[in-house]
């Protein structure tokens, strides 16, 4: 008997949890009243012409109303509505209507011009009507299936169709898709087609991460946007040294090697601060045959070494690492350079004597 009750309670709990999870995950609409995608497909299958609901759309130009059906239009057919609320309360999503309003503001588009060309065949553009739950706004690839816009595309002249594209805030759906780990991916994409990126993105957006005169990293300036992906997330400071060690060369893509010592010196946590003393552990450097950990460290992260020991600090290295010196020749076997070894830096530090 007890086991049966436990099983019943467990079943009820499981069902309740599953229901709650379904609402949380968006599998089941949570809002009151619930909103679902408009049942376009069902209307089309019933043979209802688009213009019966979207009356006047065939004459709509670049401006004017959206020609979304009103409740009065709906009850012309649905004579006995099951609810006194406006039909759009439940049928059709608010965000879809908002997207249509944004498109009205940000697209130079005329239904009138397309209606004649398409001979009244709306599905030719609104291809997703076959999916019950899809937004019917055509993506750009659909436009390109008729209009190649070759001239505009080639010269990145988006203004012909798009108005104030950046403030619409809609990432492209049919090219340079900003999805997945786009923070990681965007650099190499932008390098090949950077002028395409600038049709939406301002210089500020690039410079706020890559600029060397940024006032602070984005996650500190926009401290109220924790969901924003960022190379330097808010607690980056804790592991910045370890991340630099794991990917030597990564930091110097944007930062000068002097950036490290400049900041560490200003923070008073650099070896050049008298109070801090030598930052290297025991056994860092010594005569040949000793542990000499610095050699491997230098090959692992030459940028880190260059930060403090660049410029005049290089003489410390050269005092040992020269032909005939106790540190020996620092070049690997296959080393080549096109620099003038007697006159160019850093060669002349050792070679000016004709070594």
């Amino acid at each position: 008997m007890t086991k049966r009750w436990i099983a019943i309670v467990a079943l009820v709990a499981l069902t309740g949890s599953a229901g709650a999870c379904a609402k949380i995950l968006g599998l089941e609409s949570k809002g009151e009243p619930p909103q679902a995608a408009f049942e376009h497909r069902a209307h089309v299958l019933d043979g209802i012409n688009c213009l019966e609901c979207h009356a006047g759309i065939q004459d709509a130009g670049e401006t004017g109303p959206l020609h979304l059906p009103t409740t009065e239009r709906c009850i012309e057919c649905h004579e006995d509505p099951h609810d006194p609320s406006p039909c759009s309360t439940c049928h059709g999503r608010q965000r879809t209507r908002h997207a249509a309003e944004m498109a009205r503001k940000h697209l130079r588009f005329s239904h009138a011009g397309h209606f004649e060309e398409g001979a009244g065949d709306c599905v030719r553009c609104h291809v997703d009507v076959k999916h019950e739950d899809a937004s019917l706004r055509p993506n750009m690839a659909t436009c390109f299936s008729c209009h190649d816009h070759a001239g505009q595309w080639d010269v990145r002249d988006c203004d012909g169709c798009h108005v104030e594209l950046a403030s619409e805030g809609v990432p492209p759906q049919s090219h340079v898709v900003h999805d997945g780990d786009f923070l990681r991916e965007h650099g190499v994409q932008a390098n090949a087609q950077g002028d395409l990126c600038t049709t939406c993105h301002t210089q500020r957006q690039c410079a706020s991460c890559h600029g060397v005169t940024v006032p602070a990293i984005p996650s500190r300036l926009a401290f109220d946007s924790p969901m924003r992906q960022s190379m330097h997330r808010a607690n980056f400071f804790s592991v910045h040294d370890q991340q630099a060690a794991a990917e030597p060369g990564m930091c110097v893509v944007c930062h000068s090697e002097l950036f490290c010592v400049d900041c560490h010196t200003r923070q008073g946590i650099s070896g050049v601060n008298a109070a801090r003393g030598n930052p290297h552990p025991p056994g860092w450097s010594g005569p040949p045959g000793s542990s000499n950990a610095h050699g491997r460290a230098a090959r692992l992260d030459p940028v880190g070494c260059a930060s403090c020991h660049g410029g005049a600090g290089e003489m410390l290295c050269v005092s040992c690492h020269q032909v005939g010196g106790p540190g020996g020749n620092p070049h690997p076997a296959n080393f080549t350079s096109r620099l003038d070894k007697n006159n160019d830096l850093p060669c002349r530090l050792c070679h000016s004597g004709g070594l």
């Binding site: 809002g31 503001k105 690039c206 600029g211 924790p226 794991a246 060369g249 830096l345």
Partner: protein, 388 residues
């Protein structure tokens, strides 16, 4: 109604307590006319040195100050001023200079650029100047392929000279790929290789990416540095990531990469989940577990963050943003603590679409500070005219 591009202005007051710092950030841009764009962001501040400020003196800087003159038919673009140069295989570079692009009907683009790399407030060796160019060819509407060259001088001497190639292709509606490779000419050899291929399902429920990164840190230093003589230790990372829309409001990511730093092999990766609290994503919760074990870097991190809408009407919103991260280093140094927790609680009030006020308190313990508490505040305004 579709209207002309507006002029935009913005201002931000930003402040921090302990250590104290304050900044004002002013920006403006105009894209009203098809033949000219202008954009500027300048800032001034005083206080804590860690924020790019110098020694408690007042600091004034320009991040961006540029105009772009454009032939309305798109034949040419010319950008002048302070801006980010990012093109072809040339690494993104902040410069004071110019960038000219010419476009031929054959989809061939020619670019020349040059200027003085911005060095910020950094003392020490400064770059003298750089110059370069790129030729690229459009491949229908599928992408671009290009070749570039640049030469950077330091202390009157050739410092970096690189040639490179790049391409970006959208082979099919579900497949993107792009890559770039740069070859150093001064100390001949590969400087950097980046490649990525991503694909997605038609429904966009799943998107995956494979990537590879190879860098030679000695070739990314200026060639005037002694540390360029150490040859090519090189680093390599190859991995992939997958984003799965597990439910309409739930996105899951997994990322993993094998890494090599001078024959020291390791790996890094993360698991991340974002749950949207409503259909529009106004509220959300993020959880992330991250692990890195490469060379001398070995740590595990756990991060939680959320945006919680407290109030919303037509114009006004109020939201709470808690954020927390804890780092577990594998081998903490003595006196640096065994865990490094960090947390922040922010509150934002947006009384209109133009104005926003935010404040936060954050606390942390890390390898430098045993206990660190700060307060942050920001008032910002974004406006445009003509108004919509």
């Amino acid at each position: 109604m579709a209207s002309a591009q507006p002029h935009r202005v913005g201002a931000e007051l930003w402040g921090q307590l302990e250590p104290n710092a304050g900044m004002i950030i002013l920006e403006g841009s105009s894209r009203k006319y098809p033949y000219i764009d202008a954009e500027a962001l300048v800032w001034g501040g005083a206080g804590a040195t860690q924020l790019g400020l110098s020694d408690n003196d007042a600091t004034f800087e320009a991040l961006v100050m540029t105009i772009k003159v454009r032939d309305p038919r798109g034949v040419s673009d010319t950008r002048l001023g302070r801006f980010m140069l990012s093109t072809g295989a040339v690494r993104a570079m902040h410069i004071d200079g110019g960038h000219l692009m010419l476009r031929a009907r054959s989809k061939t683009h020619f670019e020349v650029f040059g200027g003085v790399p911005v060095d910020g407030n950094i003392e020490g060796r400064k770059y003298d100047w750089m110059v370069g160019g790129r030729v690229s060819q459009g491949l229908g509407n599928k992408g671009m392929i290009g070749a570039s060259y640049y030469n950077r001088f330091n202390a009157g001497q050739r410092s970096d000279e690189e040639v490179g190639g790049d391409f970006a292709l959208r082979v099919a509606s579900w497949l993107d790929m792009s890559a770039k490779i740069s070859w150093e000419l001064v100390n001949p050899g590969l400087a950097e290789v980046l490649g990525t291929i991503s694909a997605q399902t038609a429904s966009r429920v799943i998107r995956g990416e494979l990537y590879v990164t190879k860098r030679s840190p000695t070739r990314m230093l200026q060639s005037t540095s002694l540390f360029t003589v150490l040859g090519d230790p090189g680093t390599l990372a190859a991995g992939g990531n997958l984003r799965w829309r597990a439910a309409p409001r739930l996105d899951l990511w997994v990322n993993g990469a094998l890494q090599d730093a001078q024959d020291d092999f390791g790996w890094s990766g993360y698991l991340r989940g974002v749950l949207r609290l409503d259909d529009d994503g106004k509220g959300s919760i993020l959880g992330e577990l991250r692990r890195q074990q490469v060379a001398t870097s070995s740590w595990t991190g756990l991060r939680l963050a959320s945006v919680i809408p407290l109030y919303e009407d037509h114009d006004t919103t109020v939201g709470l943003m808690p954020e927390f991260e804890i780092i577990f280093p594998d081998q903490p140094e003595p006196n640096q603590g065994n865990v490094w927790p960090w947390g922040r609680l922010a509150l934002r009030w947006q009384p209109t679409k133009s104005w926003a006020v935010a404040a936060a308190v954050e606390a942390s313990a890390n390898q430098v500070e045993r206990y660190d508490v700060r307060a942050l505040a920001r008032v910002s305004y974004q406006g445009q005219w003509p108004k919509k």
